[in-house]
């Protein structure tokens, strides 16, 4: 966790006091957390004198980075989604306050409780015997998809989202023939839709906290929308989120079977491999576009972050996976 120059912590303290009825709030620690490829997460350690959070609290403040990507919700909308999920009993950090006034902390933000555990993909996937965690994640995914999402969430059809990817590629300065080929495949292999549900749309290793081998909470709700339930399953299993364990097809932590069984136990529906394959192709395409958009934040938006700028190079990794998924003849022999 990198300690950076203190932003206006006194204004933040006043805001927290007003929200909680505390007579005073002392901010003992404020540090930018690692991760958060698109948003900034700040670890806040605060001592509340009285009010509804009296005592020492470990919090996270989440606010927009300097630039963003188009499909990301605003922080206030993400807060509303997190509220709905938390209220329904989904394992997630408790959302506490949201603030639209940029004068308080530079940009709109929300505050949630800081849960224990690690979300670090390489750490999580280094664990052994993670079948129980995979089952827990499958069950939790089914639980979150049963939440009634806020009315403002987008309900674009799959065809509309594919069209959105093409619109992006039309603006992109370099041709991406592999992505075009995969988009064409998606267009011509659209599955029969299932009843739409709340989709997290970034449900993957790296975005959940594991504490002592168990799921502590699901993070990063900024891409949530209403859509096909198998989208989250395809995203979770997509190779880009397996970190160092490409062999473990469920998020780098286990085989698919325990994850699917956990999902079935709560949803009553066993994922159909043919549908999941469609959504894995979709996931690779979507991840490629997001990766390119991350580099756009440097190229067009002036976000001088090396980790953001370099992400676009990962689009070609998605393209390799798309070729492997879609070419019936497989990879060429050396």
């Amino acid at each position: 966790m990198a300690v950076t120059a203190l932003p206006p912590s006194d204004r933040l303290a006043r805001f927290l006091a007003a929200e909680t009825g505390a007579s005073q709030v002392c901010i003992a620690g404020l540090a930018l957390m690692r991760g958060g490829a698109i948003q900034e997460n700040w670890a806040v350690d605060a001592e509340f004198a009285g009010g509804r959070l009296a005592g020492r609290q470990r919090l996270v403040l989440r606010r927009d980075a300097m630039t963003g990507i188009p499909s990301s919700l605003s922080r206030l909308d993400e807060f509303a989604v997190l509220q709905a999920a938390f209220a329904a009993g989904v394992a997630a950090p408790e959302p506490l306050f949201a603030c639209a006034d940029p004068a308080v902390f530079g940009k709109p933000f929300f505050v949630m409780r800081r849960l224990p555990g690690t979300a670090e993909g390489r750490v999580v996937t280094a664990g052994k015997d993670l079948d129980a965690l995979a089952a827990q994640l499958g069950a939790e995914l089914a639980r979150l998809q049963a939440v009634r999402g806020p009315g403002f969430l987008r309900r674009d059809s799959t065809a509309e989202r594919i069209a959105g990817f093409r619109t992006y590629l039309d603006r992109h300065p370099q041709p991406r023939p592999v992505l075009e080929w995969a988009l064409r495949w998606l267009d011509t292999h659209l599955p029969e839709p299932l009843p739409p549900v709340l989709c997290h749309r970034d449900f993957r290793t790296g975005n959940y906290l594991v504490d002592d081998g168990r799921l502590a909470g699901i993070l990063d709700w900024e891409f949530a929308g209403i859509g096909d339930p198998d989208e989250d399953i395809g995203w979770f299993c997509c190779k880009g989120w397996r970190f160092a364990r490409l062999d473990r097809e469920a998020g780098g932590i286990a085989a698919r079977a325990p994850f699917y069984r956990g999902y079935e136990r709560v949803s009553g529906r066993m994922p159909d491999p043919a549908r999941v394959r469609f959504w894995e192709v979709f996931a690779n395409l979507r991840w490629a576009i997001i990766a390119l958009q991350q580099s756009d934040r440097f190229i067009d938006g002036g976000e001088a972050s090396l980790s953001t700028a370099i992400t676009g190079r990962r689009a070609t990794e998605c393209e390799l996976e798309l070729l492997m998924l879609l070419d019936p003849e497989g990879a060429p022999r050396a």
């Binding site: 370099q174 075009e180 370099i310 990794e317 390799l320 070729l323 990879a331 060429p332």
Partner: protein
């Protein structure tokens, strides 16, 4: 015209210095940034060593594929969007071969370890 040693070799020396000697001195939370810098130096060196070779190879494949008219990745992308080769197995197979080659050449520069992890060199 340029003085020796070549900048690509200096970049590799710089990368080794960064990883072997400087990174261990950094606090844990900054080591990932150091690895990112090392990744960029390695990429730079590979791109410099490859020069125009990959672009020329893809251009030659496209010329052989199209034989006449514009032979560009933009045309290939547009044709694939329209499903242009779907009625001819041989054309589709030839187009796929270009996609594979393009992707492998790009990854050889950007992330050869990723290729190796998939059994491709």
């Amino acid at each position: 015209m340029r003085d020796l040693p070549p900048a690509g070799e200096l970049a590799e020396l710089a990368r080794r210095l960064l990883l072997d000697e400087l990174t261990p001195l950094l606090p844990e939370e900054r080591r990932r940034d150091a690895h990112l810098v090392a990744t960029v130096l390695a990429m730079l060196r590979r791109e410099q060593a490859a020069g125009d070779g990959p672009a020329c190879e893809v251009a030659a494949l496209l010329r052989a594929f199209y034989r006449e008219g514009e032979a560009s990745l933009a045309r290939l992308a547009a044709d694939l969007r329209r499903g242009e080769f779907e009625t001819s197995l041989s054309r589709e197979r030839a187009a796929r071969a270009i996609l594979w080659r393009l992707t492998i050449l790009k990854l050889r520069e950007a992330n050869p370890q990723f290729l190796a992890a998939h059994g491709i060199v």
